[in-house]
């Protein structure tokens, strides 16, 4: 059953069409079709991960054409790990009811669920493909779907989405140009084949330019510090479900692409010693962590604060890549998983608050904690995990990053991680204090607030439970899934 990698994509793409078509006359069916599609994909992804853990990597040749002539899909530890995260967070986000998640139930004929599935399909495609150009196609598929989904947030979101479209296209084009350089130097587009042919060409300026273009392109997509300008607007104006998917998994896929190039297409030494790629990413990420945290403290709007916090949190992943030793990279990859759970939980809470009360600014939240204790407890768990309080999941990824920093003798990075935990604590405890300690100001929206219905509450509670469970089982994830990934590193 090496076809599992295709079986992840097939239901997503099939139900993407079905969901868009049946949505023309019954919105409920569109929702049901979308949930079915992502659930099937998640089942295939989990089966794929189990197979990979038992037998090693699974390769599938599309159309029966063996590489380097055909496109191959590869499921190895890294891509199976990523695709399970993508489909799980995708499923939770699709289940989240549209009246809270998309601000209002979309009108008939608006293929919101079809686009969500297309976004998840594009993200899964990027991580399972073993072909450089196929990766570009999936990159543009998920980008197009996310541009369209952001605009569901209204007029301001359209402007934010247009700016993201321009920068996202620059990113995609840089990647395509880099792949062009690799193709004309080696004559192959297959990742494994390129890895075999590239080492003699490591001195060539063309290949160096290709690496620079691909890393800068993915740096824009990952919102690394000076290239993050599109993210705060796009993520704060997008509807909560869209923002949850974008912040939790869409941005992180760019980190996957950088790791994939570093470990599979090139040898890690090339990124570490020959070119200063990891050093640059590490320092830029360190600056991004501090910048994002400071900006988050300054925000009044809840979703905007979360968006700036995303800038800081994805930089932790960049820091893990920058440390370029096994412990550091484990920390970075584990943070992809943890951040996916924490940030999607927080954005869904933001959607729930807005649906129940219509509020979105933090100063208005005073006294809300007593009105909706269950949802706000879930928020508190996610916030504590963002700060890095044990035993929540967020503690462990920071722990591995700190260990990696100590091993690399890079005390500046260790200091940045610790300092940013304090800054994160400042901006989340500010919200927690408003919710639970500040007495209500008598705002009727707060006074009449009730715990949201189970449909809204259950996805949030699943994610919050997941944060604690991931914290408890993190040793299993690290030793079975992530250790084989980083085995290539020196």
């Amino acid at each position: 059953m090496s076809s599992l990698s295709v079986l992840i994509l097939a239901p997503l793409l099939l139900f993407c069409f079905i969901s868009a078509l049946v949505g023309i006359w019954k919105l409920k069916w569109s929702y049901a079709a979308a949930v079915t599609g992502v659930a099937l994909a998640l089942a295939a992804a989990v089966a794929g991960l189990c197979r990979v853990l038992a037998d090693g990597e699974l390769r599938y040749f599309l159309g029966g054409w063996p590489p380097p002539f055909g496109i191959e899909y590869v499921l190895d530890h890294l891509s199976a790990f990523m695709v399970v995260i993508i489909t799980f967070i995708g499923l939770i986000a699709v289940i989240y009811p549209p009246e809270a998640g998309l601000y209002h139930t979309p009108r008939r004929g608006i293929p919101a669920y079809g686009l969500l599935l297309l976004l998840i399909a594009g993200l899964s495609g990027v991580v399972v493909t073993g072909d450089l150009f196929n990766l570009f196609v999936f990159l543009e598929i998920y980008s197009l779907a996310s541009y369209a989904l952001i605009t569901l947030g209204g007029d301001k979101a359209v402007v934010a989405s247009f700016r993201y479209l321009i920068l996202g296209t620059i990113a995609g084009s840089f990647y395509l140009l880099g792949v062009g350089f690799i193709y004309f130097s080696t004559g192959t587009l297959n990742m494994a084949d390129a890895a075999r042919l590239l080492p003699p060409l490591y001195g060539s300026p063309t290949i160096m330019a290709a690496v620079a273009l691909i890393v800068v392109g993915m740096g824009i997509k990952l919102a690394l510090f000076p290239l993050h300008v599109w993210l705060p607007d796009a993520h704060s104006y997008a509807p909560p479900v869209v923002a949850a998917i974008l912040a939790a998994i869409q941005v992180e896929v760019a980190a996957y692409v950088i790791v994939r190039f570093m470990l599979t297409v090139f040898q890690p030494q090339y990124f570490i010693d020959v070119l200063p790629v990891t050093t640059v990413i590490g320092w830029v990420a360190a600056a991004g962590i501090i910048f994002g945290s400071v900006m988050a403290i300054a925000q009044k709007d809840f979703k905007r604060m979360l968006a700036y916090s995303t800038v800081a949190q994805v930089s932790y992943i960049g820091l893990g890549i920058g440390l370029a030793n096994p412990l550091g990279l484990i920390g970075g990859l584990l943070h992809i998983l943890n951040h996916a759970f924490m940030k999607s939980c927080l954005f869904l809470v933001a959607g729930g608050i807005r649906h129940q009360t219509g509020l979105h600014a933090i100063p208005q939240f005073a006294g809300l904690g007593r009105k909706m204790p269950l949802m706000m407890s879930a928020f508190t768990v996610a916030a504590l995990s963002m700060v890095g309080v044990p035993p929540t999941a967020g503690f462990f990824s920071k722990w591995y990053l700190v260990l990696g920093g100590i091993e690399a003798n890079n005390w500046a990075f260790v200091a940045v991680i610790l300092a940013s935990s304090l800054l994160t604590a400042v901006y989340f405890f500010r919200v927690i204090e408003k919710l639970f300690a500040t007495p209500s100001s008598g705002d009727p929206a707060v006074e009449q607030a009730k715990e949201p219905p189970a449909r809204i509450l259950s996805p949030i509670l699943i994610l919050a439970t997941g944060i604690i469970v991931l914290g408890l089982i993190n040793a299993l994830i690290v030793s079975y899934v992530l250790q084989p990934v980083v085995a290539l590193l020196p």
Binding site: F133, V137, E140, L144, Y147, A148, T151, D155, K156, V158, V159, S161, F162, L165, I166, T169, I170, G172, S173, L176, L177, G180, Y183, F184
Partner: protein
């Protein structure tokens, strides 16, 4: 003469770099959103030209095997970059279509396509 030879063999790349620079300037330097979109199209076209130039061979024939030309790969131009760029063009068209739809919505909402005017307007509404 050597300089001229080098120029003749490389001038396409110079043109491509000029186009890339014009495109980047349009996307990042222009204030009008429509001009940003035109810059994006120029930028993408430059990349398409780069791939097509890479596929070209002096004296190469269309990549359909012909008995007179024989089976020698050097006699045919490389079809793969053309296929890649066909896909690239489809992606570019979709991006342009989506972006034009956004511009319609933006113009209806703000009555302008000037970046700074829209930013000022957005600030006003949120405060």
């Amino acid at each position: 003469m050597v300089v001229l030879d080098i120029f003749m063999s490389r001038y396409v790349y110079v043109l491509i770099i000029v186009l890339l620079a014009i495109g980047l300037y349009g996307m990042l330097g222009k204030r009008n959103l429509l001009k940003k979109l035109i810059g994006m199209n120029i930028f993408q076209t430059a990349i398409f030209l780069f791939f097509i130039e890479g596929a070209a061979k002096a004296g190469g024939s269309v990549p359909v095997i012909d008995e007179i030309i024989g089976m020698e790969a050097a006699q045919y131009i490389n079809p793969l970059p053309h296929v890649l760029i066909l896909t690239g063009i489809v992606v570019g068209i979709s991006l342009t279509g989506v972006a034009l739809a956004f511009l319609l919505v933006i113009y209806r909402a703000y009555k302008t396509l000037d970046d700074r005017a829209i930013m000022a307007n957005m600030k006003e509404i949120s405060e």
